[in-house]
Symmetry: C2
């Protein structure tokens, strides 16, 4: 006996739950399978808890450092337990919200680990389900490299470190990507001694190299060690090799943040075309099997929550017979550090690798009225804009400073709409806004 659905979605993260919601809203009979909690890694162990904690860390830093604005405090304190409770409340509110959306859209939710059989049926908890369409959205898990000591009790991933009850004295973070840098900023802001060890010659690979260097210096509380390879983890800390030398970093806690691997456990016998990066898909999110789609981290195309959600919409639109395809040229990213950073589109390096002739403009935020009023001329802030030298079409923007994360949707809109410099000049930005730097940069061309 097996149950029949129009669509079976495996995984209830920002890919899966959006797919289920959109398909349910369109009247489809949808089954959503999730092994753990609703919301996936993003809601439970990623985007949301980190932002909940970073919000408090920013308020703590401001409470300590707002003298220039006329605000002084004595005895500013940070309480981890309260912060963790706030984080947990945020997570649970969002989980409940997702559960409500599923109910509203008549999505059947089953809890359990799913596997896909050679006949394309899906097994969960010994029961079998058939779907006219299947969307795989199982996400990813932290990669743990084969470093001696990496399995020690003092080594945590994003999951473990979001559940600590006591702050470390010294934290070593292996990996200077988004996860490493956000946790580095969080812990250093609340007084923990932090060292980030990065294998590449610069942190933040998605960012323009020049701005990544500005960012590294802006995060004053964090010690960054680039071009360093971790060779061993012990109870006392981390050993790395750099320039032929072996160096020890003392740490009572170690965060492993070297990347993420697709969750492929249930698909070994499925007949799916799987590479090292994940399940192979085309621009409509279709796998090699008819009616089977793979979205989000599990396809390895773009490991961001909002990419997963957009992929969900592309897959569902195709299932519904609507023309839609995934584009990767206007996907923003954001770093919720202090200062914030964000970007969208190509970096200078990417454009040059593709042989696209570019023009570049950089604007310092200290020339911006709101930035001066709210941060001051001594704080780091920069906007770098890349346009196609032949057509004038906007290709990419990188930002450091202000609330960069909320400024970048304007850029995503411009790139998606293929706007040219002359067209962007005609868009009116509010004054004063830090976002004006984007418009101002257009007058540098």
């Amino acid at each position: 006996m097996s149950e029949e659905y129009d669509l079976i979605v495996i995984g209830a993260g920002p890919g899966g739950y959006i797919a289920a919601e959109r398909a349910g809203a369109a009247g489809k009979k949808v089954l959503l399978i999730e092994e753990n909690e609703m919301g996936g890694e993003c809601t439970n162990h990623g985007c949301i808890p980190t932002k909940s904690l970073l919000a408090g860390a920013k308020h703590y830093v401001h409470a300590l450092e707002s003298e220039k604005f006329g605000v002084t405090t004595t005895e500013a304190r940070y309480d981890l337990k309260t912060a963790m409770a706030w984080k947990q409340e945020t997570i649970e509110t969002l989980r409940a919200g997702i559960a409500f959306l599923m109910k509203k859209n008549k999505v059947v939710v089953v809890k359990g680990a799913a596997s896909m059989n050679p006949d394309r049926s899906i097994s969960v908890n010994g029961k079998h389900y058939n779907g006219r369409n299947i969307i795989i959205a199982t996400g990813s898990s932290p990669a743990v490299p084969p470093i001696p000591g990496a399995d020690g009790e003092n080594v945590l991933t994003n999951r473990g470190i979001l559940a600590i009850e006591k702050l470390p004295k010294k934290l070593a973070i292996i990996g200077g990507g988004v996860i490493g840098v956000e946790f580095g900023c969080y812990f250093s802001s609340i007084g923990v001694d932090v060292t980030v060890i990065e294998m590449m010659d610069e942190i933040l690979p998605m960012m323009d190299n020049e701005l990544a260097s500005v960012m590294r210096k802006a995060l004053k509380g964090v010690e960054f060690i680039n071009s360093a390879k971790v060779t061993e983890i012990t109870k006392k800390g981390v050993t790395y090799e750099k320039g032929g030398k072996s160096i020890d970093v003392q740490a009572d806690m170690i965060l492993m943040a070297v990347g993420r691997r697709p969750n492929l456990d249930g698909f070994k016998d499925s007949g799916l075309d799987i590479t090292r990066g994940g399940i192979k898909v085309d621009e409509k999110m279709r796998t090699n099997l008819p009616g089977v789609y793979a979205i989000g981290d599990v396809n390895g195309k773009s490991q961001l929550a909002h990419s997963a959600s957009r992929m969900a919409e592309v897959a569902v639109n195709n299932i519904l017979g609507k023309e839609d395809k995934m584009r990767y040229n206007a996907i923003p990213w954001a770093l919720y550090t202090l200062p914030e950073a964000s970007g969208c589109g190509m970096t200078e390096k990417e454009a040059k690798e593709k042989g696209i002739p570019v023009k570049i403009a950089s604007v310092q935020m200290r020339a911006n009225g709101r930035f001066l009023a709210e941060y001051g001329k001594r704080e780091p802030g920069l906007c770098k804009v890349i346009v196609n030298a032949e057509t004038g079409v906007l290709l990419g923007v990188n930002l450091i400073g202000g609330v960069a994360s909320e400024m970048i949707p304007a850029v995503a809109t411009m790139i998606e709409s293929e706007l040219r410099v002359e067209e962007i000049k005609e868009i009116v930005f509010p004054h004063p806004a830090v976002a004006e730097v984007i418009r101002d940069a257009m007058f540098e061309f």
Copy 2:
């Protein structure tokens, strides 16, 4: 004897200095005349000083109210003198920046009050200047209505209140527009007892009426009295009439913020076509006199700094022979209060008055991940979106919550690009961002 210029700009506010900069950058010989300081009302007595002070007030409130995030302080203090010094430093940095831009673009700057003669020559300090083109950008001044006592020493406008050395105990603000509400938020945030008295039945006329009401309630520290007419000001405070009754509000300081009037002093004999609202202009900012343009508050079309700057660009482009005209359908506004608010395009009421068939969607921010993480489910936050019911084209967005001021450029870009709901759905927003509410609203249609 008179000097000859390609362009004479009168007034160095956000209209005038942008006009001078753009024309200078295009190689024109430009004279800029300013009676007071570089930067005009915006830099010296408006946008910039208020944001400098509000930045501190927000940090002060956060220092007092961040317990839920795990941050506690004892003895948080606000020092007006330090805050005023920060404000002054911001102003002076920006003024110096404008002076630098003028120098860089070879703009000649003359200090003095300008007047325009019937022969179109411009007189300043007894000297006469001729310009092939003239841009009038003299701005506006606070309107002071003929209320008995309005000329008292206890009555200040935006200029006076930004120069106080001692906080009032009780502040009465006459007028619930942007200026009244921002000052109301500022003073109440730092502990002053504030009453705002508004003649209309709702505050914030540019805002969607429903959201203005949410905003009024969100500003908990301010007492708002709507539909009230101030009849007298005395040393003890303000008397207003409401519903046939006469009521006294005690106040040791009164802010007059009932609107602004164009600065037309130097143009009485110019032959310019002037109405009550200001100098009449067409969509290219041309007045009735050939080669004479009027931009910014002095033409009364849109009393916002960024409108003035865009008008400057339109006027200069027309002087340079480039096709350009002013559009008013995608001009954003922002309110830098706590919570922030912003808007762009039409409100529901405006659309209905114009007979445009509309569809409306409202999204509560408490469903948004970042909003929950950084503010919480008990804080006010709302996004209201209006689209053309026939074409699906976005007409307007109003926002309360998050850093609304930095989110609205995305909306300005969408409206200026005449995007439809189905196109906006394909734009990827970063997750988590409060700005996602704009995209989420599209799925309500």
